[in-house]
Symmetry: C2
Subunit: 704 residues, 2 copies
């Protein structure tokens, strides 16, 4: 140990296996290894002859990341790139159990090896520390910029972190974009990532594409060996989102931080740290879906009362607007004539409340209740909406009174069209109004260009805005769901009132664009949802809105049963039943599943899954013995022998199965379904058939 040159070396809480592996390389000189508890994953850190920090990741004795760079370029200062020496290495092992407020499991276990390496840049005396955690199924590391007193400020011109993979992996990717992630996914080898060569089903309101070879994270890949990797980040706070530049020749992936309008990446101070850079590793694709590293790398929330927000389902005026039969915009004054009937009228709201109360929905949302929609998108102007003034045909006090009588919670809608600073200015009054009216939560939206001008949806300033909103709404006891916000990085652990966000291509694209291909929902759990829950707004019954081409265009690209199954396969503590009430009323059979399915779970089993092909998931309802199964496929029909061995042995269950009819097909017969009921137990196997673009939803109610 003492032969290791110029290191003040400490090992804290060094466990046996750690020591045995950790000390060996130290007898060489300039590198250090950290192993996962089961030794499957190895993280290697070293200094080159020039004092550059390099890391490698191995799993199952294969190299996954080879000599990745670490460091930063600073604005107006020498780069934090080379000339480093070791100051110290602390290692420890972590094994702790914790319970999320809500989630896919009741309890989670964080088990990993942890290391903090202190580096000093000799020439400048500057410190750069690295914190690293190695799990059995992946790695996370982050940088610290230690302060020795004053919080001196500095500006990041670039983060140098790279992820040099060791093969031409197949990657599920969406193009780099500073302002949106509402793309469908492409699947190509890394060497063939070329945004301009793909056909994108767009319809996106505002885009800021980066380059043809930049992609967003989570970036999920399959190695030629059949391993699965996903690169993402955890705990994105006071920092821009990370995208990845791909070097198609060298197969290098390099961090590409979303800049501000001046081209700078992040404004930090000594004492700050970066988010975690995360590599998820799985031998089988389905294991990625229960990888909880990103949650583990986030912090618990402060000790506060969280009893006031409850996961649940909501209804709203929404699909009608996307179909174009109703409008967000209301009348300027009473009796004003409109091109389309206004959606969020008092009458519509009362009907929604009645329906919610009758069918066990917790919440009701009305989009388009407030003034501003009548002026179009407002360009790039600073103020676009009032968040306190309702249209004259929206009687807020009456709606509130009615909802209260019926025991239904109300959600407020705050679309900003990107005018964020004005939204923040109106926020105290807006929340005062919500409090006065007894609202429970708020759904935000950020369609369009951001004000402050030059800022992007995924840049540091907006990242801080979303968190400010999560904190400010929590203070006032409102839950939050955000659309067009930055994609999640596990922060729902720390901010549990921030139930979910959109931050991906949602169901609404089916209503007014080329839509989402049938494979879309099978890819989302492997990419976007690795970071956190999504408000996909499923539950659209694909009733024909026209015929011929128009039929295919203006409705979801799934069978009815697949819409049901999405409530299980796409996790969110807050799920919308996005469809029209008339469609639910005229199809009480399949609607029963939406009524029954919960949104909070004790345990989750991924039976089998393959991105782009299928996802089969079973979950047990929180505090209950009941199970729910969701199975979805892409454009291909599939058969699957569903073994019920996840059920409690010896217990009987009433299984109600919502299955595609034999002739169902997402394009031609999306509404063809068959509902059957039988008693089953853990020894049974159900033979499931999924139609092209189809799905199957099953409720399994435990008998007492």
């Amino acid at each position: 140990m003492m032969s290791f040159p110029a290191i003040s070396f400490r090992i804290c809480l060094l466990t046996g296996f750690l020591a045995s592996f950790a000390l060996e390389p130290l007898r060489a000189s300039r590198f250090f290894n950290l192993f996962s508890p089961d030794l499957f994953v190895q993280f290697n850190i070293q200094l080159t002859a020039e004092g550059e920090i390099r890391y490698s990741v191995y799993a199952d004795k294969k190299t996954l990341i080879k000599q990745g760079k670490m460091g930063f370029h600073l604005l107006g200062q020498a780069p934090l790139e080379k000339g480093f020496r070791w100051l110290s290495i602390d290692t420890s092992s972590v094994d702790e159990r914790w319970e999320p407020h809500w989630g896919e499991e009741r309890q989670l276990r964080k088990r990993c090896s942890r290391m903090v390496v202190q580096f000093e840049q000799t020439a400048t005396g500057k410190r750069l520390d690295l914190e690293c955690m190695v799990f059995n199924d992946g790695v996370g590391f982050r940088y610290h910029f230690p302060s020795s007193g004053r919080h001196e400020a500095f500006i990041l011109a670039d983060e140098l972190t790279s992820f040099p993979v060791t093969g031409d992996h197949d990657a599920f990717w969406i193009p780099g974009d500073y302002d949106t992630n509402e793309y469908a996914y492409a699947l190509t080898p890394l060497s063939k990532v070329h945004a301009a060569k793909e056909v994108w089903p767009h319809g996106i309101g505002f885009r800021s594409p980066v380059s043809d070879s930049t992609v967003q994270t989570p970036l999920t890949m399959r190695t030629p060996d059949g391993m699965w990797l996903s690169i993402h980040e955890a705990a994105l706070v006071n920092y821009p989102a990370m995208q990845l530049d791909i070097d198609r020749k060298e197969l290098g992936l390099k961090a590409h931080l979303v800049p501000d309008g001046l081209g700078n990446k992040a404004y930090l101070r000594l004492g700050d740290h970066t988010p975690w850079r995360v590599l998820l590793i799985a031998r089988r694709a389905s294991e990625l879906l229960t990888n909880r590293i990103i949650l583990h790398l986030n912090e618990d929330p402060p000790e506060t009362d969280c009893s006031w927000f409850k996961p649940g389902k909501y209804l709203g005026i929404w699909w009608e607007m996307h179909l174009g039969t109703h409008s967000w915009a209301g009348p300027r004054s009473e009796g004003d004539s409109l091109a389309l009937p206004h959606g969020a009228t008092t009458g519509s709201m009362l009907r929604l409340i009645d329906f919610a109360a009758a069918n066990g929905f917790s919440y009701v949302l009305a989009e388009g209740w407030n003034r501003g929609w009548e002026h179009g998108d407002g360009g790039w102007s600073e103020r676009k909406f009032s968040f306190t003034e309702a249209y004259p045909d929206v009687d807020l006090p009456r709606i509130s009174e009615y909802a209260k009588d019926k025991g239904v919670g109300l959600m407020m809608h705050h679309e900003t069209y990107g005018a964020v600073t004005d939204y923040e200015r109106q926020l105290p009054a807006a929340l005062d109004l919500m409090e006065k009216l007894g609202y429970k939560g708020v759904k935000t939206g950020y369609v369009g260009r951001i004000v402050p001008r030059g800022e992007h949806h995924d840049g540091q300033w907006m990242v801080n805005h979303y968190l400010h909103l999560a904190q400010f709404t929590a203070l006032r006891k409102f839950f939050l769901v955000s659309h067009e916000s930055v994609r999640p990085t596990g922060l729902h652990r720390s901010y549990p009132n921030w139930f979910s966000c959109e931050a991906a291509r949602g169901n609404e694209f089916n209503a007014w664009s080329a839509g989402n291909p049938p494979e879309h929902e099978t890819i989302l759990p492997f990419t976007r949802l690795l970071g956190g829950p999504m408000d996909y707004t499923p539950g659209i019954f694909p009733v024909a809105a026209g015929s011929g081409d128009s039929l295919a265009l203006r409705r979801v690209h799934t069978t009815l049963c697949k819409q049901l199954a999405l409530y299980v396969t796409l996790y969110s503590p807050l799920q919308m039943a996005g469809g029209k009430l008339e469609d639910y009323e005229s199809h009480p059979g399949p609607f029963q599943f939406i009524r029954d399915v919960p949104t909070d779970w004790d345990s989750t089993v991924v039976l089998d899954a393959m991105p782009g092909d299928f996802v089969y998931t079973a979950r047990r309802k929180r505090g209950s013995g009941d199970w729910y199964v969701g199975m979805i496929t892409d454009e291909l029909a599939r058969k699957y022998p569903l073994r019920l061995d996840f059920l409690e042995p010896g217990r009987k269950y009433v299984a109600r199965m919502y299955a595609d009819a034999p002739d169902a097909h997402w394009q031609t017969r999306p509404m063809a379904y068959k509902i059957t009921e039988q008693t089953v137990d853990a020894r049974d196997v159900l033979n499931i058939r999924l139609a092209p673009g189809g799905g199957c939803a099953i409720s399994l109610k435990a008998e007492e």
Copy 2:
């Protein structure tokens, strides 16, 4: 009238004299004249053969502005520059009296001719309307962008308004700068305006100079004929500040709007209008100081209760910090050692409260009470200060309790160092704290670069921030005084809780830079103060802080009596006694004037004044018969026979005169003064002698 081609011509409320002058030119074809009520000022509007809008201004039959341009360049749209036709002209006359909540006069009379001209750009069908008011002492006009329904958004790339003057006027100017106006003034002919050729006494924290030939407004000029002009703006709302580009050869002045980080000028929507472009006109310099056009062009505040804020004087911990004997930064934890003693400790505050109570001051302010100062300027980071956490040696509840017992109001200090979005986010909690502690008002500061990055102190976004703050503080019943904010444009009429701002080179520069030249305070009323009150923070007793050069550097560049006189010559409803308590205690004689002088007035008489030379002002205390006189000079000694004919005839007054001693001199004997008292009446003449850099203050208390 009917011979005027292609005009739908209406004249509303047309008064006799208007009609007689207005109709004559219409018989010609493409121009229209509007005269001031006394016919002294004439405003001419015309269309060129290409349909360009041009205006001219005449006074006393001399041309002041000759063929000024009007119009705009739009981003991505055809310019609003030519091809206009007249749609209609409405004229009316205005004669109304109104009362400001506080001010230099109890009642004001707005008397002018008003005109609204509707233009249409034939090729595009776009409307551009011009609203114009012609007063006996100047002109104001603004543009409207009429909406016919939806508020379509557009972006101004440039405002084309120009002010082509007709001679090489002598101009008092400071250089164009997007982020500061804390310059001393230069006096040159317009043809010689060249920022790089002047020697500027700087010390300014952060500057964004524009060009060598750009200057800021108010720009005050003397014509070769001896007329006085000043160009400024009124009611700057949702628009960037206007600076002026000077064409040194053609003597053209063109609007130069402060851009955002992307180079755009303003983001507007149909239905919006610009601020007023204002030309003040005076035959004698002193008349400029009672020109109230800028106030007249602002709106009355909404009908709200304004009884909760009261003009007054305040004390603070301030000069000590600027002298460098105490620090804003406090200890991180109790017992932490500091390089300088902390200024705003509980002990200092209690002493200030005692002193304020004993001497009739309304308010006490402590700068440096809150955490953040210990980290330096914070660079360009997003969060720099906490506005709710006090240093451990500042016991806020105890201070508040003590102030309440003594009947003294407290003012909170909110320095942002430019981190404005974070300040807005903290504002609700900060104001909650102020309310809980019983504070009366807040002093803000904006030293440094603005966040949102790319925005400037004087751009549209920040202009809206200042107004947001004025409104939000009013809602919570706090008054506001802002430093480093955009220079005022009469908005204190509409937002009377926004007492004053700095927005010019204040007294503090004397403590740590080459300071302010003795002429500085004689120029401010003719320039910066035309827009509104200034928090200059006078009352520094020029006690030597060292000797030799250091003596001249680290103290105000005036005699003691001039510091007293500034309370009258530099108007503000909120005046600080900026000096150290020890200095006041050791000089009770001159301090008596600061104790006595009020900050709210019934009437104001400018006895004589010349920018750069001297200002002699008398004001009558609001609701009282008492008068106060302030007389200041530049570096030259002056004599002046002060005729007291502004006093009420036949009434006796006790005049207490605070005069420079015969050997007083701002550089060598600044503290030499003589206080005399005598009984006077309106027939008396006092022979006043002002020392170099000196002044004279007089209180005249009416006998019952």
